[in-house]
Amino acid sequence: MGSADKLRELMRTEGAAIAANTQGFNDGRYRSVAKLDDYESRKREARAIKEDAIERLPELLDELTDTVEANGGTVYVADDDADANDYISDVVAERDAERVVKSKSMTSEEIEINAALEADGVDVVETDLGEWVLQVADEAPSHIVAPAIHKSREDIADLFNATFDPETPLETAAELTAFAREKLGELIVDADVGITGANFIAADTGTMALVTSEGNARKTVAATDTHVAVAGVEKIVPSVSDLAPFVELIGRSGTGQDITSYVSLLTPPVATPVVDFADDETPLSEFESDREFHLVLVDNGRLEMRDDEQLKETLYCIRCSACSNACANFQSVGGHGFGGETYSGGIATGWEAGIEGLDTAAEFNDLCTGCSRCVDACPVGIDIPWINTVVRDRRNREQTQPAEWLVDGLVPDEEDEGTPLQKRFFGNFETVARLASLTAPLSNWLAETSLSRWAMASALGVDPRRELPSFERETFVDWFASRESTVTDPDRHAVVYPDLYTNHVRTDRGKAAVKALEALDVDVVVPPVASSGRAPLSQGMVATATDHAERVVETLAPHVEAGRDVVVIEPSDHAMFQREYEKLLGDAEFASLAEHSYEIMEYVYGRLDNGADPAPLETVENEALAYHSHCQQRTLGLEAHTVAVLEELGYDVATSDVECCGMAGSFGYKSDYYEVSMDVGGRLRTQLRDSDVRDRQVVASGTSCCEQIDALLERRPRHPIRLLTE
């Protein structure tokens, strides 16, 4: 089944439950972290602990092994899944166990321990209610924290009624929970071995933290005489005191709970007596607490990831699921679409690439659009979009498909020949745009003919349902070159960066930016500059993006040295200067450009805040406006500046709060993803059609957002800068 068919089917069958649940978690995260006074410093603290722990991992692994063994437990470091399963199978066989109860653990999913034990004839019971639902349904988890998130209450009721045929059919969530509690409760008290995961393990004391809500992990440990904890080697932190920030962050970041019901801090062997639940004579305190403890630490590719400068950050992941819930595409397709063998969501690309290999990661990696909304959500500040970009780049390079003459001639780039045609077309959009402007309006007419749309669809995977951008014959740079400045006594000097879209397609917003800045006494220049490299970067063409970045800096650096500010209209390009260039350029080059560049409305805000006279700008009397900011602009914390400027000019501004419009550059143009893009956009459409918003003029900062809104609504959106002088 092709990508589009598979994703359409997922959205049809699982989309509604996925959307409701992930958005609920995501809203909860915003509410919960807002209540934590030192949220940002807690995140930095958590990040620093993880950086240190992974740096010192071999040493901590030795320390932990010594500690656990001194406490009377056993540590086994498993090279891979088979090694881990063999060890656990031996422990279970040694115990002569008939039944193993498990609490939820992604690492045990990764090694597929259930299948290994069942092959030995052992009864394996998942006790987490969500995992149990999936075990009964024989399905895979769709979310790393809430595994059955794709199932509605009705789905689960149908499943239980069909499977167990209860006397009275089950209906409500409370009935379903009570039924499962009863059923699993009986199985737990008769179990022999308990398998849990571990969220964090302190090397100094051997204390493991288990973050749960149902109480099944507690029962799994308390009711059995053999405890096997399975965890990735990256779960080790240096000391117990390091647990504090994680305890405060993990629930808030994931499901939006300030803290989950139970955080177990176990320093095995635990003192809880091992009892026979059928015994009606012996008091609890008279049973011995002779519990065996086995800690199985799984490598399975992790130590190699630690030596991989780009994938290493993945090991900081605490599996909270923030990157899944904050992801607009994940909210539409869930982990069965946006996921690999075990892990799902944005960070899954890193995990699956490191554990399974590039092929597995490549199956879903294109669902990350680089919108960056997960970056602020991640409690340990992992640059998840960058990991996705790197994996895409590696995947491009290892493919052997020969480049096609059509795009090869059109797009002389820095990529190896393997890079797929579609990626090279979108990645080299600058060349496409330059040629299109040169030949406009002919190029626009030609592009819209049914023959060229057919060719684009079959050769490049450009979805025929998308309207194509219409190129201007006179570029923004050419327009500027043919006019005189209106500023005689400037307060500041600036370069307006002619990004690809402003230069070739949306020249009106460039002209509006120049007029607004000149009205605020800014002397403006608009030199020809290379495009930022956002387009190739989004296709995983890192070498080509780096080439763009170097050319951009070559042109802009002398202006910056001469005291000019750099003003950027397209938020995705501004985000390149502020974020991604750090990965592509030298430190000094990056720092200088980042420090001196501003998003256009941020710059206007700064001028007004510094006392510039707003009189030359157009004002209104309490006019209602709807504003959709841009994903990457929000990540940089720059939505508020636009709103503040618009309010100062007299607008009553209603803002959207969807994570992304769904277009995300080329993503929404691709046939594989058009329907996902429109489903994501549907949430923005709903907000923009709200009763209080439906009659408002719409403004949006991003080119992609404007194109998407154009496809979603009758109202034509504009860039907010155009309101200042028109």
Binding site: T177, A222, F277
Partner: protein
């Protein structure tokens, strides 16, 4: 301490944890008011064993535990910011008594209330380092959202009642 106390009370209220305050003298009567029979308990580790003066079956058999509705145990610490109760895992079976029941009645000395998570982890770190302790930070009743909506009372207790023992109030 009073600022912590009011934060603690509001956290508990948000979690649906009911509270009664008492002093050492009135503790047995307060516990009797809080329990639903059949009730079992694990020794609170307090002087004079207050549970001996209640209707609670102290140190029950496993079979009695499985029949019980209420379990009474002590909390070693509590966290005002979160309304979390730090449950001990001891050889008296507190973990079993507080987990395999529908209602958990928890007894806390007011002086064991700490303001925030840092202070709690600090204190626990000392106990873990000194005595390899294990503990549960329990915050509200057990809960699940796995059945399509939030349900209180999953595998663990559905109701939590806290008895705070003050000093000479």
């Amino acid at each position: 301490m009073s600022e912590s106390r009011s934060r603690f009370e509001s956290s508990l209220d948000d979690l649906g944890v009911t509270v009664s305050r008492t002093d050492e003298g009135a503790l047995p009567a307060t516990i009797d008011d809080a329990i639903t029979q059949p009730a079992v308990g694990a020794s609170l580790g307090l002087d004079g064993e207050p549970l001996a003066e209640t209707a609670v079956d102290v140190d029950p058999t496993p079979a009695a535990l499985r029949e019980a509705t209420t379990g009474v145990t002590a909390a070693g610490l509590a966290v005002a910011d979160y309304g979390s109760l730090v449950l001990t895992m001891d050889d008296r079976g507190s973990e079993l008594v507080g987990l395999f029941v529908a209602e958990h009645v928890v007894v806390l000395r007011e002086s064991d209330l700490l303001p925030d998570m840092d202070a709690t982890i600090d204190t626990l770190e000392r106990r873990i380092t000194d005595a390899s302790e294990s503990a549960i930070l329990a915050t509200g009743p057990s809960a699940t959202a796995d059945m399509g909506e939030l349900v209180l009372g999953a595998h663990g207790p559905k109701d939590v009642h806290l008895v705070v023992v003050g000093e000479g109030e």
